[in-house]
Protein backbone atom coordinates (compact mmCIF):
# COMPACT_ATOMS: atom_id res chain seq x y z
CA UNK A 1 0.00 0.00 0.00
CA UNK A 2 2.25 2.80 1.20
CA UNK A 3 1.86 6.53 0.89
CA UNK A 4 3.25 8.71 -1.85
CA UNK A 5 5.45 11.64 -0.93
CA UNK A 6 2.99 13.98 -2.51
CA UNK A 7 0.21 12.73 -0.28
CA UNK A 8 2.38 13.47 2.73
CA UNK A 9 3.29 16.93 1.52
CA UNK A 10 -0.38 17.62 0.81
CA UNK A 11 -1.25 16.55 4.33
CA UNK A 12 1.52 18.72 5.69
CA UNK A 13 0.22 21.76 3.86
CA UNK A 14 -3.40 21.20 4.84
CA UNK A 15 -3.02 19.85 8.38
CA UNK A 16 0.03 21.55 9.83
CA UNK A 17 -1.64 24.30 11.86
CA UNK A 18 -4.43 22.07 13.18
CA UNK A 19 -2.12 19.24 14.17
CA UNK A 20 0.34 21.62 15.77
CA UNK A 21 -2.40 23.25 17.81
CA UNK A 22 -3.78 19.91 18.98
CA UNK A 23 -0.27 18.71 19.78
CA UNK A 24 0.41 21.90 21.72
CA UNK A 25 -2.25 20.73 24.12
CA UNK A 26 -0.19 17.61 24.73
CA UNK A 27 3.22 19.22 24.83
CA UNK A 28 2.35 22.48 26.56
CA UNK A 29 3.71 24.87 23.96
CA UNK A 30 3.49 25.64 20.27
CA UNK A 31 7.25 25.49 19.96
CA UNK A 32 7.56 21.96 21.27
CA UNK A 33 4.46 20.93 19.30
CA UNK A 34 6.00 22.24 16.09
CA UNK A 35 9.18 20.31 16.81
CA UNK A 36 7.22 17.11 17.44
CA UNK A 37 5.21 17.60 14.28
CA UNK A 38 8.30 18.18 12.16
CA UNK A 39 9.76 14.94 13.49
CA UNK A 40 6.48 13.14 12.87
CA UNK A 41 6.30 14.20 9.24
CA UNK A 42 9.98 13.37 8.77
CA UNK A 43 9.33 9.91 10.15
CA UNK A 44 6.24 9.59 7.96
CA UNK A 45 8.41 10.40 4.93
CA UNK A 46 10.94 7.76 5.90
CA UNK A 47 8.37 5.14 6.79
CA UNK A 48 5.76 5.96 4.16
CA UNK A 49 5.95 2.54 2.52
CA UNK A 50 4.89 0.95 5.78
CA UNK A 51 1.50 2.64 5.73
CA UNK A 52 -0.83 -0.29 5.26
CA UNK A 53 -3.99 1.61 4.46
CA UNK A 54 -5.84 0.24 7.44
CA UNK A 55 -6.79 3.75 8.51
CA UNK A 56 -6.55 7.24 7.11
CA UNK A 57 -3.21 8.92 6.40
CA UNK A 58 -4.24 11.66 8.86
CA UNK A 59 -4.74 9.09 11.59
CA UNK A 60 -1.45 7.40 10.80
CA UNK A 61 0.54 10.62 10.96
CA UNK A 62 -1.28 11.76 14.07
CA UNK A 63 -0.43 8.47 15.76
CA UNK A 64 3.25 9.01 14.91
CA UNK A 65 3.09 12.56 16.26
CA UNK A 66 1.26 11.52 19.42
CA UNK A 67 3.80 8.75 20.04
CA UNK A 68 6.68 11.20 19.69
CA UNK A 69 4.90 13.73 21.92
CA UNK A 70 4.32 11.12 24.62
CA UNK A 71 7.91 9.92 24.34
CA UNK A 72 9.18 13.48 24.71
CA UNK A 73 6.87 14.11 27.62
CA UNK A 74 8.01 10.94 29.34
CA UNK A 75 11.61 12.01 28.85
CA UNK A 76 10.90 15.45 30.23
CA UNK A 77 9.17 13.95 33.22
CA UNK A 78 12.07 11.57 33.87
CA UNK A 79 14.43 14.52 33.75
CA UNK A 80 12.12 16.45 36.07
CA UNK A 81 11.99 13.74 38.73
CA UNK A 82 13.03 15.31 41.98
CA UNK A 83 15.44 14.02 44.53
CA UNK A 84 12.53 12.40 46.33
CA UNK A 85 11.82 10.33 43.23
CA UNK A 86 8.38 11.83 42.66
CA UNK A 87 7.09 12.69 39.22
CA UNK A 88 5.50 16.14 38.98
CA UNK A 89 1.73 16.40 38.69
CA UNK A 90 -0.04 17.37 35.52
CA UNK A 91 -0.64 15.23 32.48
CA UNK A 92 -1.85 17.57 29.76
CA UNK A 93 -1.31 21.15 30.77
CA UNK A 94 -3.04 23.25 28.12
CA UNK A 95 -2.76 26.62 29.79
CA UNK A 96 0.10 28.15 27.79
CA UNK A 97 -1.11 27.57 24.21
CA UNK A 98 -4.66 28.73 24.96
CA UNK A 99 -5.10 32.47 24.63
CA UNK A 100 -8.43 32.57 26.44
CA UNK A 101 -7.86 31.80 30.14
CA UNK A 102 -11.51 30.85 30.67
CA UNK A 103 -11.35 28.33 27.82
CA UNK A 104 -8.07 26.96 29.14
CA UNK A 105 -9.58 26.52 32.59
CA UNK A 106 -12.72 24.92 31.16
CA UNK A 107 -10.67 22.46 29.08
CA UNK A 108 -8.65 21.56 32.14
CA UNK A 109 -11.79 20.31 33.87
CA UNK A 110 -12.43 17.67 31.20
CA UNK A 111 -11.33 14.06 31.73
CA UNK A 112 -8.28 13.26 29.65
CA UNK A 113 -9.94 11.14 26.96
CA UNK A 114 -12.73 13.69 26.52
CA UNK A 115 -10.16 16.45 26.35
CA UNK A 116 -8.16 14.67 23.64
CA UNK A 117 -11.26 14.14 21.52
CA UNK A 118 -12.13 17.81 22.00
CA UNK A 119 -8.65 18.86 20.87
CA UNK A 120 -8.78 16.63 17.81
CA UNK A 121 -12.19 17.96 16.87
CA UNK A 122 -11.71 21.67 17.48
CA UNK A 123 -8.01 22.17 16.87
CA UNK A 124 -6.95 19.41 14.46
CA UNK A 125 -10.29 19.70 12.64
CA UNK A 126 -10.54 15.95 12.17
CA UNK A 127 -13.76 14.17 11.28
CA UNK A 128 -15.60 11.95 13.74
CA UNK A 129 -14.40 8.93 11.79
CA UNK A 130 -10.77 10.03 11.94
CA UNK A 131 -11.00 10.77 15.65
CA UNK A 132 -12.66 7.41 16.21
CA UNK A 133 -9.79 5.69 14.43
CA UNK A 134 -7.17 7.54 16.48
CA UNK A 135 -8.92 6.97 19.81
CA UNK A 136 -10.00 3.43 18.93
CA UNK A 137 -13.68 4.09 19.60
CA UNK A 138 -16.72 4.27 17.36
CA UNK A 139 -17.79 7.49 15.62
CA UNK A 140 -20.93 7.39 17.75
CA UNK A 141 -18.81 7.46 20.87
CA UNK A 142 -16.91 10.43 19.48
CA UNK A 143 -20.18 12.27 18.86
CA UNK A 144 -21.47 11.47 22.33
CA UNK A 145 -18.17 12.43 23.96
CA UNK A 146 -18.10 15.73 22.12
CA UNK A 147 -21.67 16.46 23.16
CA UNK A 148 -20.71 15.84 26.78
CA UNK A 149 -17.58 17.95 26.42
CA UNK A 150 -19.55 20.75 24.84
CA UNK A 151 -22.07 20.74 27.69
CA UNK A 152 -19.28 20.80 30.25
CA UNK A 153 -17.39 23.56 28.49
CA UNK A 154 -20.54 25.62 28.06
CA UNK A 155 -21.38 25.28 31.75
CA UNK A 156 -17.86 26.21 32.80
CA UNK A 157 -17.70 29.23 30.51
CA UNK A 158 -21.17 30.44 31.50
CA UNK A 159 -20.20 30.16 35.16
CA UNK A 160 -17.03 32.06 34.46
CA UNK A 161 -18.90 34.78 32.59
CA UNK A 162 -21.39 35.15 35.45
CA UNK A 163 -18.58 35.53 37.96
CA UNK A 164 -16.99 38.20 35.84
CA UNK A 165 -20.24 40.14 35.48
Amino acid sequence: MGLRRREITDLYASRYVGFRNALAMLTGSYESAADVLQEAFAEALRQRRRFRGEGTPEGWIWSIAARIALRERARDRREAVGSDGRVPEGEMAPSEPIHDPAVAEALRTLPERRRLITFLHYFADLSYEQIAEICEVTPGTVAATLAQARDALRAALEANDEVRT
Binding site: R5, R6, Y12, V17, N21, Y30, A34, A42, R150
Partner: protein, 215 residues
Protein backbone atom coordinates in the same frame (compact mmCIF):
# COMPACT_ATOMS: atom_id res chain seq x y z
CA UNK B 1 -26.21 34.29 29.68
CA UNK B 2 -26.60 31.16 27.57
CA UNK B 3 -23.80 30.37 25.15
CA UNK B 4 -25.04 29.00 21.85
CA UNK B 5 -23.38 26.05 20.12
CA UNK B 6 -22.06 28.37 17.41
CA UNK B 7 -20.52 30.88 19.78
CA UNK B 8 -19.08 28.09 21.91
CA UNK B 9 -17.45 26.47 18.90
CA UNK B 10 -16.11 29.80 17.66
CA UNK B 11 -14.73 30.70 21.08
CA UNK B 12 -12.89 27.40 21.48
CA UNK B 13 -11.51 27.42 17.97
CA UNK B 14 -10.29 31.00 18.30
CA UNK B 15 -8.47 30.21 21.53
CA UNK B 16 -5.47 28.78 19.71
CA UNK B 17 -2.98 30.33 17.35
CA UNK B 18 -3.79 30.45 13.63
CA UNK B 19 -0.16 31.28 12.87
CA UNK B 20 1.33 29.02 10.24
CA UNK B 21 5.02 28.42 10.91
CA UNK B 22 5.27 25.30 8.79
CA UNK B 23 8.61 24.56 7.19
CA UNK B 24 8.69 21.68 4.77
CA UNK B 25 12.36 22.10 4.08
CA UNK B 26 13.04 21.38 7.73
CA UNK B 27 10.95 18.20 7.51
CA UNK B 28 12.94 17.08 4.50
CA UNK B 29 16.19 17.83 6.25
CA UNK B 30 15.13 15.82 9.27
CA UNK B 31 13.98 12.96 7.08
CA UNK B 32 17.26 12.71 5.21
CA UNK B 33 19.83 13.93 7.70
CA UNK B 34 21.11 10.45 8.49
CA UNK B 35 21.39 9.27 4.95
CA UNK B 36 22.06 12.08 2.54
CA UNK B 37 24.69 14.77 2.32
CA UNK B 38 23.10 18.10 2.88
CA UNK B 39 23.93 19.93 -0.27
CA UNK B 40 22.10 18.58 -3.15
CA UNK B 41 19.90 19.65 -5.51
CA UNK B 42 18.94 22.46 -7.54
CA UNK B 43 20.40 20.74 -10.52
CA UNK B 44 18.37 17.71 -9.71
CA UNK B 45 15.23 19.70 -10.16
CA UNK B 46 15.81 20.27 -13.75
CA UNK B 47 18.21 17.81 -15.03
CA UNK B 48 16.47 15.00 -16.70
CA UNK B 49 17.00 11.43 -17.55
CA UNK B 50 17.18 9.41 -20.58
CA UNK B 51 14.77 9.62 -23.42
CA UNK B 52 14.24 5.95 -22.90
CA UNK B 53 11.23 3.78 -22.41
CA UNK B 54 7.99 5.63 -22.14
CA UNK B 55 7.34 4.55 -18.58
CA UNK B 56 10.42 6.39 -17.46
CA UNK B 57 9.14 9.72 -18.70
CA UNK B 58 6.51 9.97 -16.02
CA UNK B 59 9.21 9.85 -13.42
CA UNK B 60 11.11 12.55 -15.19
CA UNK B 61 8.17 14.87 -14.89
CA UNK B 62 7.61 13.99 -11.27
CA UNK B 63 11.22 14.69 -10.53
CA UNK B 64 10.83 18.29 -11.52
CA UNK B 65 9.39 18.94 -8.12
CA UNK B 66 12.12 17.19 -6.24
CA UNK B 67 13.46 20.17 -4.38
CA UNK B 68 10.45 22.40 -4.14
CA UNK B 69 8.68 23.52 -1.03
CA UNK B 70 5.09 22.44 -0.60
CA UNK B 71 3.15 25.25 -2.11
CA UNK B 72 -0.08 25.82 -0.34
CA UNK B 73 -3.05 26.56 -2.51
CA UNK B 74 -1.04 26.89 -5.65
CA UNK B 75 -1.91 25.41 -8.96
CA UNK B 76 0.52 22.63 -9.61
CA UNK B 77 -0.97 20.47 -12.30
CA UNK B 78 -3.62 20.56 -14.96
CA UNK B 79 -4.64 18.01 -17.51
CA UNK B 80 -7.32 17.51 -20.10
CA UNK B 81 -8.44 14.70 -22.38
CA UNK B 82 -7.42 16.15 -25.70
CA UNK B 83 -7.86 14.30 -28.96
CA UNK B 84 -6.84 10.90 -30.17
CA UNK B 85 -4.11 9.69 -32.48
CA UNK B 86 -0.99 11.24 -33.96
CA UNK B 87 0.22 14.67 -32.92
CA UNK B 88 3.17 16.97 -33.24
CA UNK B 89 5.06 18.65 -30.48
CA UNK B 90 6.65 21.88 -31.61
CA UNK B 91 9.33 22.92 -29.26
CA UNK B 92 11.46 25.99 -28.86
CA UNK B 93 13.83 26.00 -25.90
CA UNK B 94 13.05 29.61 -25.08
CA UNK B 95 9.60 30.40 -26.47
CA UNK B 96 7.95 27.25 -25.29
CA UNK B 97 6.13 24.19 -26.51
CA UNK B 98 2.92 23.59 -28.45
CA UNK B 99 1.06 20.33 -29.05
CA UNK B 100 -0.89 20.28 -32.32
CA UNK B 101 -3.24 17.84 -33.93
CA UNK B 102 -4.79 18.34 -37.34
CA UNK B 103 -3.93 22.02 -37.19
CA UNK B 104 -5.55 22.53 -33.80
CA UNK B 105 -3.61 23.59 -30.76
CA UNK B 106 -4.20 21.16 -27.94
CA UNK B 107 -1.84 22.64 -25.42
CA UNK B 108 0.88 25.19 -25.01
CA UNK B 109 3.36 26.05 -22.34
CA UNK B 110 5.99 28.70 -21.83
CA UNK B 111 7.81 30.25 -18.91
CA UNK B 112 5.17 32.84 -18.35
CA UNK B 113 2.02 31.33 -19.78
CA UNK B 114 0.72 27.80 -19.34
CA UNK B 115 -2.48 26.76 -20.94
CA UNK B 116 -4.41 23.89 -22.39
CA UNK B 117 -6.76 24.47 -25.26
CA UNK B 118 -9.17 21.75 -26.21
CA UNK B 119 -12.84 20.85 -26.24
CA UNK B 120 -12.68 19.08 -22.93
CA UNK B 121 -12.75 19.86 -19.28
CA UNK B 122 -9.41 20.97 -17.91
CA UNK B 123 -8.82 19.43 -14.52
CA UNK B 124 -6.59 21.36 -12.19
CA UNK B 125 -5.10 20.19 -8.93
CA UNK B 126 -3.86 22.33 -6.13
CA UNK B 127 -1.34 20.55 -4.08
CA UNK B 128 2.28 20.13 -3.27
CA UNK B 129 5.29 18.96 -5.21
CA UNK B 130 6.20 15.36 -5.44
CA UNK B 131 9.60 14.31 -4.17
CA UNK B 132 9.51 10.70 -5.14
CA UNK B 133 13.16 10.57 -6.06
CA UNK B 134 14.39 12.36 -2.97
CA UNK B 135 17.16 14.93 -2.76
CA UNK B 136 19.86 12.39 -3.52
CA UNK B 137 18.61 11.86 -7.03
CA UNK B 138 21.22 12.54 -9.70
CA UNK B 139 20.61 13.11 -13.38
CA UNK B 140 22.09 10.66 -15.79
CA UNK B 141 22.10 10.04 -19.49
CA UNK B 142 21.55 12.43 -22.39
CA UNK B 143 18.71 14.82 -22.93
CA UNK B 144 17.56 16.23 -26.22
CA UNK B 145 16.60 19.42 -27.91
CA UNK B 146 14.27 19.44 -30.88
CA UNK B 147 12.22 21.80 -32.97
CA UNK B 148 9.40 19.48 -33.91
CA UNK B 149 8.66 15.86 -33.24
CA UNK B 150 5.80 13.84 -34.68
CA UNK B 151 4.33 11.01 -32.69
CA UNK B 152 2.29 8.36 -34.49
CA UNK B 153 -0.19 6.73 -32.19
CA UNK B 154 -3.82 5.70 -32.20
CA UNK B 155 -4.15 6.23 -28.47
CA UNK B 156 -6.63 8.60 -26.87
CA UNK B 157 -4.54 11.44 -25.54
CA UNK B 158 -4.27 13.37 -22.36
CA UNK B 159 -2.27 16.56 -22.16
CA UNK B 160 -0.90 17.91 -18.90
CA UNK B 161 0.83 21.18 -18.18
CA UNK B 162 2.65 21.70 -14.94
CA UNK B 163 4.75 24.42 -13.39
CA UNK B 164 8.33 23.73 -12.39
CA UNK B 165 9.44 24.88 -8.98
CA UNK B 166 12.82 25.97 -7.80
CA UNK B 167 14.18 25.34 -4.35
CA UNK B 168 12.58 28.53 -3.07
CA UNK B 169 9.15 27.39 -4.10
CA UNK B 170 8.83 29.82 -6.97
CA UNK B 171 7.72 28.82 -10.43
CA UNK B 172 10.38 29.25 -13.05
CA UNK B 173 9.40 26.96 -15.83
CA UNK B 174 6.90 24.57 -17.31
CA UNK B 175 6.66 20.91 -18.08
CA UNK B 176 4.22 19.62 -20.63
CA UNK B 177 3.44 16.01 -21.27
CA UNK B 178 1.27 14.21 -23.82
CA UNK B 179 0.13 10.93 -22.33
CA UNK B 180 -1.95 7.90 -23.19
CA UNK B 181 -5.31 8.61 -21.62
CA UNK B 182 -5.96 5.03 -20.59
CA UNK B 183 -2.67 4.43 -18.84
CA UNK B 184 -1.29 7.89 -18.12
CA UNK B 185 1.92 6.75 -19.78
CA UNK B 186 3.79 9.73 -21.26
CA UNK B 187 4.47 9.67 -24.98
CA UNK B 188 6.33 12.96 -25.26
CA UNK B 189 7.34 15.59 -22.76
CA UNK B 190 8.73 19.07 -23.07
CA UNK B 191 10.55 20.68 -20.20
CA UNK B 192 11.06 24.43 -20.18
CA UNK B 193 13.24 26.03 -17.57
CA UNK B 194 14.20 29.64 -17.22
CA UNK B 195 17.51 29.86 -19.03
CA UNK B 196 20.50 30.37 -16.84
CA UNK B 197 23.52 29.07 -18.68
CA UNK B 198 25.70 29.39 -15.61
CA UNK B 199 23.56 27.49 -13.18
CA UNK B 200 21.48 25.36 -15.47
CA UNK B 201 23.23 24.70 -18.73
CA UNK B 202 20.87 23.47 -21.38
CA UNK B 203 17.86 23.03 -19.18
CA UNK B 204 15.16 23.28 -21.82
CA UNK B 205 14.62 19.82 -23.22
CA UNK B 206 12.19 17.54 -24.94
CA UNK B 207 11.77 13.82 -24.35
CA UNK B 208 9.86 11.35 -26.40
CA UNK B 209 9.16 7.69 -26.72
CA UNK B 210 10.10 5.42 -29.59
CA UNK B 211 6.82 6.06 -31.42
CA UNK B 212 7.88 9.67 -32.05
CA UNK B 213 10.28 10.94 -34.69
CA UNK B 214 12.10 14.21 -34.95
CA UNK B 215 11.41 16.03 -38.18
Amino acid sequence: MTITDESLDARIRSAVSPHDDSNWRDVRRRATRKRVPAALAVGAVIAILVAGPAFALRHQIDDLWSSAEPAKNLYVRAFADCGQGSFTLEFHPVRGAVVRQDGDTLASASFTDRQIECDATVHTFKGTPDESRGPDWQPKGPSYEATTITCHTSAALQVSVNPIWDENGTIDGSAMSVEERATGKPIASAVLKEPDPTAYPGTARVYWSDICRRS
